[in-house]
């Protein structure tokens, strides 16, 4: 397993290199530059600005410069925020987004796995229909509706929780974590129910039952290991998606996280910021995908034996 881990970490290098290269040229093709504004500046000023940020050089030269900077760990200055470096901005947004994603995943896992497993075990009873209907509604209700809805109920009408912020007012982390968590809980519930049903029919479960193991042992020791594989393979991209996709929740709740930087950079054509956040998120994706692959490997006794 350790060998796989290190091999995959090594393989991440070409992946990140490819992402950086493709993104670099994608943003160069995209129309509009970082300094286009409502109040257009004179060609003279634009030339000066491009000069200041090395944008007058050929694309190839810029690419080489950027990549060599990247190798030294220099992500360059932000174009949108003069006086800020991309690394600095990532460093400020990251802990916040991580914290938010952590709470959300926690909520999603607890709610999702619990109701999904329960539903699979009590198939076609109320304990199946009710949580699964709630999960369906959870999937229907997008975060951009769930967030404002929770705020209107708990923030404006009941006045028990703050409507925005992160670590500014007591309790302001609850609503964003729940909003983001709900969306994923619904998915996890559905996936774990499906996976569990798949496994519960298999021979080794029947064997285990026949051996007289308690139902609880059967479920926890045997069925969940295999039944949660779909959840685990979903978790990798989900965590990565959660980090990058926290944008909506961060905007609704005015949270200073990385998701906002990521999306706003694309709209602002803040070239270095787009590249920096993209590379960073790709690294996260590679890492969490690797983690989820390792976890499925570990959960799946057959492929574990095979490797």
């Amino acid at each position: 397993m350790l060998a796989i881990f290190f091999k995959r970490i090594l393989l991440a290098i070409p992946v990140l290199f490819a992402v950086a290269t493709i993104t670099f040229f994608l943003i160069k093709i995209a129309p509009g530059g970082p300094f286009d504004a409502d109040r257009a500046v004179s060609p003279q000023v634009l030339k000066n600005l491009n000069e200041a940020y090395n944008l007058n050089a050929s694309n190839w030269q810029q690419y080489v410069d950027y990549m060599s900077g990247l190798l030294r760990g220099d992500l360059g200055p932000s174009f949108r925020f003069p006086g800020r470096s991309v690394s600095e901005m990532i460093a400020t947004g990251l802990p916040v987004t991580f914290e938010l994603a952590f709470y959300a995943i926690l909520i999603a896992l607890v709610m999702g796995v619990f109701s999904g497993v329960l539903a699979a075990l009590k198939r076609n009873t109320f304990l199946d229909f009710i949580p699964m209907s709630i999960a369906m509604i959870g999937i229907c209700v997008p975060t951009f509706l769930m967030g404002p809805l929770l705020v209107l109920i708990f923030g404006i009408n009941l006045e028990v929780l703050p409507v925005s912020g992160w670590g500014q007012l007591p309790g302001d982390k609850i609503l964003p974590s729940l909003t983001l968590g709900f969306a994923y809980a619904a998915y996890i519930a559905r996936l774990s129910r499906g996976g569990m049903l798949e496994v519960l029919n298999q021979d080794f479960i029947r064997t285990a039952r026949a051996k007289g193991l308690t139902e609880r042992m059967v479920v926890v020791k045997h069925a969940m290991q295999g039944g949660l594989i779909p959840v685990v393979s979903f978790l990798g991209p989900a965590i990565a998606g959660l980090l990058a996709g926290s944008f909506v929740v961060e905007t609704i709740f005015q949270i200073p996280g990385l998701g906002r930087f990521y999306v706003e950079a694309a709209f602002n054509r803040d070239y270095t910021m787009i590249l920096g956040t993209t590379i960073f998120f790709s690294a996260m994706i590679v890492f969490f995908n690797l983690m989820s692959d390792l976890a499925s490997l570990w959960l799946n006794p057959r492929s574990r034996d095979a490797s």
Binding site: V15, L26, R190, L191, P230, A266, S282
Partner: protein, 283 residues
């Protein structure tokens, strides 16, 4: 066993599943309504009655009107066309690419698997918004591009899930036995692997459809996809959320339609899954 009886068995099982048949019925009804929208919609989807503005449901407008005085019922009916089309086509695109990619990678293993999954990693990493903006600029906007764009993103997770399943299956006795009997790769995929991973695929597909419909709303807002004054459920819901405190009906009715569709889809998907499951027959 031959595949004929497999499918007819499945169909038989599906027909006995009341929830699934009900879901299927609703879906067919929705599709019919979507096709007939121009004939059954009481008003045009684009006609504005500016002096009327946003009005709650009334005998004139059963579901009320939006801020520009457009009839909501007509907009929902017309919206069904776009949303159902996007939901099914984009999900199908994602399914076809994702499932084949995942099966091949998972079954082949080794270097092929490694390269295929690293490609998935790279695609995951690219900035989506820049990608969308570029698509629009290079190809202009049209509906097929929208399907492509959504499918191109959604297949990645599908591929990962399928690959995970296949890896789990490929060392099981029946697969090893089939392999020993010299079954060709293609029929291995079709006969032995695919039927066994249909469950998670069906579940994930039913999860993808609503996501795709909402994503369409966002992309249309960005300018890719449908153009105003055309409506889709995604754009209606997006607009509805923005004025939910003032004109709640603008969120409630599209929301209800959307939810009903998803429940129907879900019942049908579950039924399909059970029907196709090779193991349910001996249960």
């Amino acid at each position: 066993m031959n595949s004929n009886s497999l499918w007819s068995d499945a169909f038989y099982r599906l027909r006995r599943n009341k929830a699934a048949m009900f879901g299927g019925f609703i879906l067919i009804l929705l599709i019919v309504v979507a096709i007939l929208a121009p004939w059954i919609a009481p008003y045009s989807y684009s006609y504005q009655d500016l002096n009327l503005g946003a009005s709650p449901p009334s005998s004139e407008h059963f579901l009320g009107t939006d801020v520009l005085g457009r009839d909501l019922l007509s907009r929902i009916l017309y919206g069904a066309r776009i949303s159902l089309l996007v939901g099914f086509v984009a999900t199908a695109v994602a399914l076809i690419i994702g499932v084949s990619w995942g099966i091949v990678a998972g079954y082949a293993g080794g270097r092929v698997d490694s390269i295929m999954m690293r490609i998935v990693d790279v695609l995951y990493g690219l900035p989506f918004i820049i990608f969308i903006i570029l698509l629009m600029v290079i190809f202009g906007r049209n509906l097929w591009l929208l399907f492509g764009a959504i499918g191109a993103v959604e297949w990645l997770t599908m591929a990962r899930i399928v690959r995970g399943q296949v890896i789990g299956l490929k060392n099981q006795e029946f697969v090893l036995a089939a392999k020993a009997m010299g079954v060709s790769n293609f029929s291995m995929f079709r006969r032995h692997l695919l039927p066994n991973i249909l469950g998670p695929i069906a579940v994930y597909a039913t999860l993808t459809i609503p996501q795709v419909m909402l994503l369409e709303g966002f992309l249309s807002f960005l300018g890719l996809g449908i153009q105003p004054p055309m409506s889709s459920w995604g754009t209606l819901i997006k607009d509805g959320v923005e004025s939910m405190e003032e004109y709640s009906w603008l969120l409630i009715y599209p929301g209800i339609t959307f939810t009903i569709t998803l429940f129907a889809l879900n019942f049908f998907g579950d039924g399909l899954r059970d029907a196709l499951d090779p193991k349910t027959s001996d249960n």
